[in-house]
């Protein structure tokens, strides 16, 4: 637990520092016309100072409690599935406007069911993907008239 706080607080300090540099460049303006840098400066200052506290507190706690070896990330297999999921989500965004709603949705469902849900039954996978795609189309395009990309297929 302590180790997580150590690393995370340093990461936060780093991130906030980037904002602080930007804030200083944007300028504070004056009291009668506050500048763009005012709010980011104070916000990043708060983050840096408080993360600093957390850092030092967890530094001390580490000495008192001794090292806890709790695994941060889940086991390999699970992490891979999470990553596939995330990549598929990104992929959906990238593919949507070129491939269109139906094709992207179908592909997405197939990937999710097969590689993240780890199902092996292809009939079920393809059938479900087809149905989902159909329902999404009917719901979003036909019923709700949302303007979703047409792409290659439909």
């Amino acid at each position: 637990m302590g180790r997580r706080d150590l690393v995370s607080s340093l990461v936060f300090i780093g991130l906030a520092a980037i904002f602080m540099i930007g804030a200083l460049r944007y300028g504070f303006g004056s009291f009668s016309r506050p500048g763009p840098g005012l709010m980011p400066f104070f916000a990043s200052l708060m983050v840096i100072v408080l993360s600093g506290f957390i850092f030092f507190i967890s530094l001390r706690k580490r000495k008192i409690k001794g090292a806890e070896r709790e695994r941060f990330l889940p086991p390999r297999g699970v992490t891979i599935r999470q990553m596939i999921g995330v990549l598929a989500l990104f992929g959906y965004g990238i593919a949507l406007e070129s491939l269109g709603l139906t094709l992207t949705t179908a592909l997405f469902m197939i990937i999710m069911l097969r590689f993240v849900g780890l199902k092996k039954n292809w009939v079920m996978i393809l059938g479900t993907s087809f149905l989902t795609t159909l329902i999404s189309y009917l719901l979003f395009v036909t019923l709700l008239k949302s303007a979703l990309p047409k792409g290659i297929f439909l």
């Binding site: 989500l89 949507l96 999404s136």
Partner: protein
């Protein structure tokens, strides 16, 4: 008596068959739109505008307004079932609603949400009927300094939002503020922190961030915990579909208080369902006898916000109809709908078009009744969704989020934002930092900054403006007192330690 005549007029108009149908369609559409994450009432109202051209002004407004408050009923559904806020006004409902669902109390949460929404909405109609002009006049008094005071109040509550370490809450709040700074700066007109990405020129999309941090992150956690294990929690204890007697009793005071809060906040410019829901949550936590239970599935944490957001929807009609002031972007679209029909809301609306005003009032009653009749039985259906095997449910959740995010502004940038913040949300929870303060600061921060800057420009740099004006002075003093006083009382309260580390027992 005047009131009787008005009520007669109201019900005569709203009970015309055409108007009844319009109300029903609006409410149905609104519920659907509210349930689907991403798709919001303003988009659907705008889409349906052309269809309403053929109808009379009254009928059109009845339908479009139905979409608006219908969406507030439906918005909590996905928050409770799968931790995905469909709109920003349903974010707070995730905090306790989802926890209730995890404990098998999804039905109760959905039920109390519908009940609270009904009470809140009805309360707002009452306000609209009796107190519209005076409330509107009072709301006008809220200029930048007063709105700043309200935001200040909200921001000081940030540490109340989450359990555990105050330090961590504040760090998250700081990041929320920073995220809110990305985009255009109102005062200088320049752009901040976009790192050259043009799509960020308008800031990071609020709804996408929320959908990602709550919904996507939650799914990633479930993948981690094991998809197979998930189903068991939901299969058991689905019996009680409605709130228990005790839960109902615990909800009474929150509903009453939140109706008043939401009804009032809804009349203020910049008020509206989202700030109302946050303030209601914080208020309930503050006033609760068991604040530590918030975040674990406390029913007041669902009843309060859901009541407040519906109340504020209804009361938003007060400034709209009496002075033509839209307090939120959705109200601006509704105002447009009025105008294009040839009715311009303003001081003379009630006199010039009484059938419009009272017809809308009447249909809001009818609409609220329709919605609760629609939503309560649906609770059973929604809860059944949780029975879908998780390996199928989670891709569907993802899918609806993806499409919903895209429909926000027809852009894949919203999808990417959602996914990025899904990962961020996952990592943040992994390191035990709370997300709620981040979201609150992200939402309120830009308003906070805007009102502060506007006030200082008006006062030419003097901070006295906040204290020479009565309303803002009172609010600020109360807010400061609420921060300063409790720690001072701590030495007198035995057995309560100041928590700095989040050391849970």
């Amino acid at each position: 008596m005047d009131l009787i005549t008005h009520l007669q007029l109201a019900f005569r108009v709203c009970l015309e068959p055409m108007n009844l149908v319009a109300a029903f369609l609006g409410c149905l559409m609104g519920t659907l739109v509210g349930v689907l994450p991403g798709l919001g009432p303003s988009a659907s109202i705008a889409l349906l505008l052309p269809i309403t051209y053929g109808f009379s002004p009254v009928t059109s407004i009845i339908m479009l307004a139905g979409i608006y408050y219908g969406a507030q009923y439906g918005g909590s559904t996905t928050s409770i079932l799968v931790n995905i806020p469909g709109e920003t006004s349903s974010i707070v409902t995730c905090l306790d609603g989802y926890q209730m669902a995890k404990k098998g109390r999804a039905g109760a949460a959905l039920g109390i949400s519908a009940i609270g929404s009904f009470v809140g909405g009805t309360f707002a109609i009452v306000l609209l009927m009796f107190l519209a002009p005076p409330l509107a006049k009072f709301a006008i008094k809220f200029g930048p300094p007063e709105s700043f005071a309200v935001m200040f109040f909200g921001m000081t509550m940030v540490t109340y939002l989450a359990k555990g370490s105050i330090l961590k809450s504040l760090v998250m709040a700081g990041f929320g503020l920073l995220l809110g700074c990305i985009g255009s700066d109102l005062i200088s007109g320049g752009i901040r922190f976009t790192f050259g990405i043009p799509d960020l020129a308008d800031g990071v999309g609020m709804v996408s961030v929320c959908m990602g941090m709550f919904g996507i992150a939650e799914v990633m956690f479930i993948i981690e915990e094991g998809i197979e294990r998930k189903q068991e929690v939901y299969k058991t204890r689905l019996k009680e579909l409605l709130p228990s007697k005790r839960e109902l009793k615990d909800s009474v005071k929150p509903i009453v208080r939140s109706s008043i809060l939401g009804g009032f906040l809804g009349t203020l410019p910049g008020g509206g369902p989202t700030p109302s829901s946050f303030m209601a949550y914080v208020m309930e936590k503050r006033l609760s006898k068991h604040p530590e239970r918030f975040g674990t599935g406390e029913i007041a944490g669902v009843a309060g916000p859901e009541t407040a957001n519906n109340a504020s929807c209804g009361s938003a009609f007060i400034p709209l109809l009496t002075l033509g002031i839209p307090t939120t972007p959705v109200m601006a679209v509704l105002l447009g709908a009025f105008m294009i029909q040839g009715v311009t809301p303003g001081p003379s609306l009630i006199e010039k078009s009484p059938d419009l005003f009272w017809g809308v009032v009447g249909s809001m009653y009818i609409g609220n009744v329709m919605l609760i009749i629609l939503n309560l039985p649906l609770v059973g259906m929604w809860v059944k969704i949780l029975r879908v095997p998780y390996f199928l449910l989670f891709p569907l959740i993802f899918l609806f989020c993806l499409v919903g995010a895209y429909t926000l502004s027809n852009s894949v940038v919203d999808i990417h934002t959602m996914v990025i913040f899904g990962v961020i949300g996952y990592l943040i929870r992994k390191v035990d930092y709370p997300m709620a303060p981040f979201i609150l600061a992200f939402i309120l921060g830009p308003q906070f900054e805007k009102y502060l800057a506007q006030s200082l420009i008006i006062s030419r740099g003097s901070f006295k403006i906040f204290f020479t004006r009565p309303i803002s002075a009172v609010l600020l003093i109360v807010a400061i007192a609420l921060i300063v006083v409790p720690p001072m009382l701590t030495p007198f309260l035995k057995g309560r330690k100041l928590k700095f580390e989040g050391d849970e027992p």
